[in-house]
Symmetry: C2
Subunit: 344 residues, 2 copies
């Protein structure tokens, strides 16, 4: 089959790789219907050292079950399923607590002999725990929105849940990428009273307004902090969802959060230290969030996607075939595409 | 009256100061029955630059109402009351959320013309919101335990609540000072299944065992982390309450917390940066805690103190008169006393 590999910064290739087959009784094989490029893929795309051994890419996909192992129940060939962005048994203590990202028997796509999602098919370990049936056809118009359950919508939702967004509460979302916009959507869904979106790309922030943002702040750094404070009577917002991952973005988050408030971080951290000394201690600021256990949220979010109540798939503004994946990466890196859908 | 002032590191003096009188209609004047020295007082005691103007000390006290302003209701002369470690109106939005440390009309003892607690009397601003009646006599044997409601017990409780200690959950308490021991007591009170106390002073950790610690770890740093991990099957504990405030203690906290777990920090931060990069992001670690809004917790904890269900006053292992306060500071700084009670 064909699959996407990264060989270094800016070097994404689609190549022939072995067809996936069942190796363990808990495996399934899924033929990919839709996959996509993640904002987090752009970090290695910008900085990965050149390597002779390519790295299999992609951790968001939905597809059709093509084969199931002997110990997989509840799934059969032909089922349309979505995979969360890590695979997990969904039965261990961490999974039962809703932290499938720390599953005792789970792992990441594209590592240790497991396929990535940006290819024609994927061997899925722990298939029964990992895959969620979607009960739609292969040609459903909802596929893009359903694909967001794999990562980006659930990640935005994770930020919103962990930062305790609720009716009557205010939230600042930092970053107008697909995760930030998904966080806006998730905050609106959970009844946030005020949703301030910090971002500078008007095409994106316009979509953010459609998703529920009540205010848009284009300024960054100290200016951005002042602007959010102005909008909130000097206090800042109860919740902040940080969707960038840079030190500056984190500093902004800590600057716009209200005393006693929560900063949830979703952006892949490009920093190693967080400036949380005496001031944040006296103000009782909480820092939370992290890699989203998407699997924990799919059942809750799926009905709203199926009903069309939310349309998270609107974050996809370009669709490419597998052979054009490299163009898709470049378009996202150049900010010419918000999020690229792959149709193998 | 006589009151305690600090003029620099190691330089604590008791001097004559003006008698407190009502200045605002919301004030009360309280004659101090008991006060004490806080672990946080030891930071300036160790490092405060010499100054000609002394700094009024003490933020923990209980006493008898001596006078009340015209706008104070519910309090009268002769009431025995405890003061939380900041004064607050207890009616603003922050106070209603239980964050009296951020009260819009509150402040700290010993600053801006407000007396400190380590003296014979205190003018209490926002008296109605600040003071809590204890319904005991001036000679009650419970006074030491009741005094802990002012700060140290409520602070330990704050760490335990914010780190989500609950039945079935495990907690590591880092630091065997009075706050650490109070956190142990609070964790036991809220039903923690396992309470690991990290500390090296056996007289203190023995009291910690009395308070409910199930395990004591004397090792520090990497060794301490390994030991806690061994005790918890490699996982670490769900909750960690950090009661020291140093960078090393914080690193230990992040090292012993279980994936998805919460570190609550209570120690006055001697660091400005927190090492929470990629690893803690992937593990979904939460950092929370801060200056405890003691006022928010007094009503909940008071009945257990009055009933004798808990004896938090056991953290006091030395009592001094006002003229011996300097000795009290020295004894605590030299680790010869755990916590010093002051009986003016």
């Amino acid at each position: 089959m064909r699959a996407t590999l990264m060989y270094g910064a800016g070097d994404v290739r689609v190549e022939d790789v072995p067809d996936p087959v069942l190796r363990e009784p808990a495996d399934a094989v899924v033929r990919v219907l839709r996959s996509c490029v993640c904002g987090s893929d752009l970090w290695p795309y910008g900085a990965m050292p050149a390597s002779e051994q390519g790295r299999r890419m992609g951790h968001e996909f939905l597809g059709v079950v093509a084969d199931v192992g002997s110990r997989v129940s509840g799934l059969k060939r032909g089922d349309v399923v979505v995979a969360p962005f890590v695979w997990a048994d969904n039965t261990c203590d961490f999974c039962r607590e809703g932290l499938q990202t720390s599953c005792r028997h789970g792992g990441q796509w594209g590592l240790n002999g497991v396929d990535g999602g940006q290819g024609e098919a994927v061997r899925v370990p722990q298939a029964q725990g990992t895959l969620v049936k979607l009960l739609v056809g292969e040609d459903s118009e909802l596929l893009p929105s359903l694909l967001t359950l794999s990562d980006v919508l659930c990640t935005g939702h994770h930020g919103v849940v962990t930062s305790r967004v609720a009716p009557g509460r205010s939230v600042t979302v930092i970053g107008d990428g697909a995760v930030g916009l998904s966080a806006v959507l998730a905050a609106e869904r959970l009844g946030a009273e005020r949703i301030i979106l910090m971002g500078r790309h008007t095409d994106r922030t316009d979509l953010g307004r459609d998703f529920g943002a009540t205010d848009v702040v284009a300024e960054r750094g100290e200016e951005g902090i002042e602007r959010v404070r102005e909008l909130t009577g000097g206090d800042g917002t109860h919740a902040v969802v940080e969707c960038v991952g840079t030190r500056q973005s984190l500093e902004t988050a800590l600057g716009v959060v209200r005393d006693g408030g929560v900063v949830s971080r979703l952006g892949v951290s490009q920093y190693t230290e967080v400036p949380m000394g005496f001031d944040t201690l006296m103000r009782n600021i909480t820092l939370t969030g992290g890699a989203a256990p998407a699997r924990a949220y799919i059942e809750e979010l799926l009905p709203d996607v199926l009903d069309g109540k939310i349309e998270p798939g609107r974050v996809f503004d370009r669709t490419v075939g597998l052979d054009e994946v490299s163009d898709g990466y470049r378009a996202m890196a150049d900010r010419k595409a918000l999020k690229v859908l792959i149709q193998p």
